[in-house]
Amino acid sequence: MSAREPKVVFERVSKTFPKKKDVLQVLQDIDLSVAEGEFVCLLGPSGCGKSTLLNIAGGFEEPTSGTVRIDGQLVDGPNARRVFVFQEYGIFPWASVWDNVVLGVRHRPKAEQHEIAQGVIDLVGLTGFEKAYPMELSGGMKQRVEVARALAVSPDVIYMDEPFGALDSLTRLTMRAELIRIWNTRKPTVLFVTHDVDEAIQIAERIVVFSARPGRVAGVVDVPLEHPRDLSSHAYADIKRELYGLLGVVQAV
């Protein structure tokens, strides 16, 4: 663990869903601490509960037991201090790029709104598209709008639930690089859910590996590589092997 202040702290978080006569255990005793400004990936197979954990941290769902605290405060509902970037475009298709981005700062004075919105729109590379509607944008650009909308509120934490899952593989690569560039500029705390091993190694400072259902922390792997990360380096391959081992997946076919 780094010496930075803990930002998000999960304590023995468990989640069960009722299922006919039985209960479905989705998450079991998750303990995890994320530092201020840290970029953490939650990596695991589909259905391992990693998205559920994110929803709990975002206040959209309640844990069956255990707690999530941000800056020591109990999470008990959604809040604009911690914002989501959704996979299936959460931006509003009926509003222009600009109106989407100012959503979180709509109660601030106009001049301030303007400064913030233009700042994040420029940052995510959408300058000139302020008046466009989401349907006129590509998948990658929509996702940029969503990131801009999240950054506009200068949140304590950004939750990203497979944000690039719906994009084609080339756009995904570009968006990863963009995300790292943006993260380096603002240094928000990021919790990023993915099932893509390469994606996790490319972007995360630390990777939390989940076991299949019920989701448990199978291991935590640090990624001490500098950006831009070389996919063909030995260090990269070592981390990848370690992750596949934790996931219990055969790498070579």
Partner: protein
């Protein structure tokens, strides 16, 4: 026999041209092909009248003459206005009440539970069945017409709006929650705009129904309007040429109404709802 030759030839020609025309580029094609089909129908109609030797059912030419008569008598305009007035008024009333009600029903489970059964119970009753009651309450005239149009449009608009709100995606609801959008602002910023494309579709369906219902209502329980004109033409010496001419006017106005309401679908705020889904 001569009277059959030319129309038959034209019928065959217009149908025979279809395969040729179907190779044209789509801009021309989508105009020329339906025109040919309409022409062929007119020739077939003409031939059928001539072959049967009917004196009651009008031929296309007689119908065209009846149009002239309708326009000259200046009666048509009055009846068109009467029908349009009832439809417009009843439709706006139904939209004004049905949309807000549908928004509430769609968002609040409790109000849905309380009100949906009575709405579903009243909905399958044909507006035509209400005609006696409409006349009882409002007498013969515009009041009854507006009431019947209100009934026939209120249910599709309310039910359509309710469904639209219930269909709002979880991600958009969560986005709203996440950025603290709540109360009336939630309706204005999220619920209404998210539901709007589907609301417009339900308005479009409702307006189509209204135009069907008003003609029937005017035939039975009113003393003006296009429906009344049809009934009157039949009763006044079986003027079926006027009947058919009026029917064509009704069809044409129906097309115009649909075109006008479809223009709502073009706004930037709602266009997304018609391309993605």
């Amino acid at each position: 026999m001569n009277e059959f030759v030319l129309p038959s030839l034209l019928l065959v020609l217009s149908l025979g041209a279809l395969p040729l025309v179907s190779r044209l580029r789509s801009g021309v094609r989508t105009f020329v092909m339906p025109t040919l089909v309409i022409l062929a129908s007119l020739f077939a109609w003409h031939l059928a009248c001539a072959a049967l030797g009917t004196r009651v059912f009008p031929s296309p030419m007689q119908t065209a003459a009846a149009f002239g008569e309708l326009f000259e008598s200046q009666r048509l305009l009055g009846d068109v206005v009467a029908s349009l007035f009832r439809v417009t008024f009843g439709f706006l009333l139904a939209a004004g009440i049905g949309i807000p009600l549908g928004l509430v029903l769609g968002w609040s489970t409790r109000s849905f539970e309380a009100l949906n059964p009575i709405i579903q119970g009243l909905r399958p009753i044909s507006p035509i069945a209400w005609i006696p009651i409409a006349i009882l309450w409002f007498g013969i005239g515009d009041g009854a017409g507006v009431f019947l149009i209100f009934l026939s449009t209120f249910f599709p608009v309310t039910v359509g709006t309710t469904a639209a709100v219930r269909n709002i995606s979880l991600v958009h609801r969560r986005s709203a929650l996440n950025f603290g959008v709540q109360g009336l602002e939630l309706f204005r910023r999220v619920v209404l705009p998210a539901a709007l494309p589907q609301i417009i579709t339900s308005l479009r369906i409702a307006l189509g129904v209204a135009w069907l219902v008003i003609v029937a209502a005017e035939m039975v329980g009113m003393d003006s309007g296009l429906g009344y004109l049809i009934n009157d033409a039949r009763n006044a010496g079986s003027r079926y040429d006027l009947v058919v001419a009026t029917m064509i006017v009704i069809g044409a106005i129906g097309i115009v109404l649909d075109y006008l309401i479809r223009r709502l679908e073009r706004f930037d705020e709602v266009r997304w709802g018609y391309v993605q889904r």
